[in-house]
Symmetry: C2
Subunit: 270 residues, 2 copies
DNA sequence: GAGCATAGAGTGGTCATACCAATTGTGGTT
DNA sequence: AACCACAATTGGTATGACCACTCTATGCTC
C-alpha cells in the first residue's frame, strides 16, 4: 500500500484550461470506445479495397486529425490491429498492412492454452483433424504446382537422416506444404496456428532420433497418396503418421508446448 | 495541411531537461519493444499460475511503477492483450483476465478474409473439416452430460419450425453444442471462430425458409449418430448437412460473411 | 556528369501530466 | 435496517514533447 494521493489536494474548479470539448459523439454512429473507431475505420478501408496488403497507412498524426482523435487514441487502435496481425509498424518508415501469405498468429491460442490448461493431446487432436482434412483436400485437388514443394522437402528429409536438426526443418516445411496444397488459405492458416503450438519438440523429441528413416517413409506415403489423388489413403496415412508422432512425443515427457512468453519474442520481437 | 512546426525553431542542444535516462535496458533481457515487456510480464504470471481467469490485474498506475515504464506504454501492452482476448478492462473497476469458456475472437480471421479475398466456399470448407471432425470426436466419446445440450437445441428447432428467426438461434447453438461435445476446447474454439465468419446468413438465407423441417431432420440424424456412438455415421451426416447448407447458401447470393467492421461492434462494443 | 556522403524531414515509440467518466465502497441519513 | 450521497479508485482520452530510426533529396566530391 503506497501512501500517495492522500492529502485532500486542491484540484477544485477552473485551475487550468476550461475549454476542451467533452468528446464529441462522432457522426451518427453509436459511441463505441474511441479507439475502436480507428479499428473500424481501417476495417472499412480494407473492405472497400482502398487498403491492400503492403499498402502504407496515413501517419498517426494524420489519422488523428482525420478522425478527430488524439494520437494516443489512434495508437491504441493501431495497437489492436497490430495484435491481430493486420498491420505492422516500422519506426521511421510508417505503418503498413501486413503483406505475405495469410497468417494467424499463435499468440491468442497460446494464451488460451496457458489459461485453461490445454493438454498437449488436446492440441494434437485438433492438429490431427486439421492436417488430415488438409491432406484429403490436397489429394482431391492434386494440383501439380503445389505438389513440387512437398516433393522437395521430402527429398530434403531423406537427405538429412543423419542430421535431426536439419531433418526437423524439412519435416515442418513438409507439413506446411501439405496445408498449402489444400489450396485453402483458411485451412492453411489454421494448420500453421495450431502446429506452432506443438513444435517445441524440435530440440528434445527429434534430437536423439531413433527412427528418422521410418518417419521419412511415412511422409513419403503421404506424398504418394496425394500425388495419386487418393484422398482416402492420404487421410489414412496422415492420420497414422500424426498418431505415431503424438505417441512418440508423449513417451518423452520433455516436450512442451510453446508458451505465450516465448511467443512474445518470436512473433513480436524481430 | 496545418502550418505548425514550420519555423527553424530552436531545439538545438540542452534547451530543456537534460537528465532523463534514455530508456534503461531492462535487467538482462534483450531489449524488445517496451510495450511487449508488459505482454511478456503478464504471460509469465499466467504461466506461473499467478493469474487465472477472472483475476484482476494491478492497476495501470501500479504496473507502471512495477515495470519501470510509463502508463501509456503499459496501456499499449494491455491493448495488445485485450486484442488477443486475454484481458478485459472495465472503466472504473479494473482490468481482468478474461473469464468464461475458452474463446478465440473471429476478428483476425475476418481481417484475413477481407484482405486476401477469401471466398465463402473456402471458409465453409474449413468449417466442414472442423465440424465433421468435432462430430466424429463427439460420437467417439459420447459423453452423456454433453449430449443433453444438443438434445435441447434439437427440440427447440422442431418447436420453432414456423419461426425462422428463433430456429436459426437453435441451429447455431446446436452446432456449438456438437463442438462442445467433442470435449476438446481447442476444436471448440476453432469451430466457433470459423462459424462466426459464416453466420451472417441469419436474416437472409433462413428468413424465408423453404424446408426447415428437412433441416431439423438432418440435425436429428446427426444427434442420433453421436448418441449411438457411431463416429463414421456422425461424420457422414454432418458432412452431408453442411454440404447442403453450403449449396443452399450459394444459391442465394445475398448471404455474406461477417466483415471486420461488423465485428468491431459485436466483439468489442458492449 | 556520376557516385556518394550527409543533413533534414518524416514517422513510430516513449514519456510526463492532466482531466474526464464510470465504478465501487463507505459512511451518514432517514 | 435500508437507502442514498460522496469520495476514492481506475480505465479512457487528450496535449505536448522528445527520442530513435528511416528515407530521401540535396550538395559535395571525384
Amino acid at each position: 500500500m503506497t501512501e500517495r494521493g492522500r492529502r485532500p489536494v486542491a484540484r477544485k474548479a477552473g485551475t487550468s484550461l476550461p475549454s476542451r470539448p467533452p468528446r464529441r459523439t462522432r457522426g451518427g454512429s453509436l459511441d463505441l470506445q474511441a479507439a475502436d473507431e480507428v479499428v473500424r475505420h481501417v476495417a472499412v478501408l480494407i473492405e472497400k479495397g482502398r487498403l491492400r496488403p503492403g499498402d502504407r497507412l496515413p501517419a498517426e498524426r494524420e489519422l488523428a486529425v482525420e478522425l478527430g482523435l488524439s494520437r494516443p487514441t489512434i495508437r491504441a487502435g493501431l495497437q489492436t490491429l497490430a495484435a491481430m496481425g493486420v498491420i505492422e509498424s516500422r519506426r521511421g518508415a510508417g505503418t503498413f498492412i501486413t503483406a505475405g501469405p495469410p497468417r494467424l498468429g499463435a499468440g491468442p491460442l497460446s494464451f488460451l492454452a496457458a489459461l485453461h490448461g490445454f493438454t498437449r493431446d488436446e492440441v494434437f487432436e485438433a492438429r490431427l483433424i486439421l492436417e488430415v482434412g488438409a491432406a484429403g483436400l490436397a489429394a482431391e485437388r492434386g494440383l501439380p504446382a503445389l505438389l513440387a514443394p512437398m516433393a522437395e522437402e521430402l527429398a530434403g528429409m531423406f537427405a538429412t537422416l543423419e542430421d535431426p536438426q536439419a531433418y526437423l526443418l524439412h519435416d515442418v516445411r513438409f507439413h506446411q506444404a501439405v496445408a498449402a496444397a489444400s489450396a485453402n488459405p483458411v485451412i492453411q492458416a489454421l494448420v500453421e496456428m495450431v502446429s506452432t503450438l506443438v513444435y517445441e519438440e524440435r530440440r528434445s523429441s527429434v534430437q536423439r532420433a531413433h527412427d528418422l528413416k521410418e518417419s521419412a517413409e511415412m511422409h513419403r506415403r503421404i506424398y504418394q497418396a496425394i500425388r495419386d489423388k487418393d484422398p482416402q489413403r492420404a487421410r489414412a496415412e496422415m492420420s497414422r503418421h500424426l498418431e505415431m508422432t503424438r505417441q512418440a512425443q508423449a513417451a518423452e515427457e520433455m516436450s512442451q508446448m510453446v508458451t505465450p512468453s516465448q511467443l512474445v519474442e518470436s512473433e513480436f520481437g524481430s
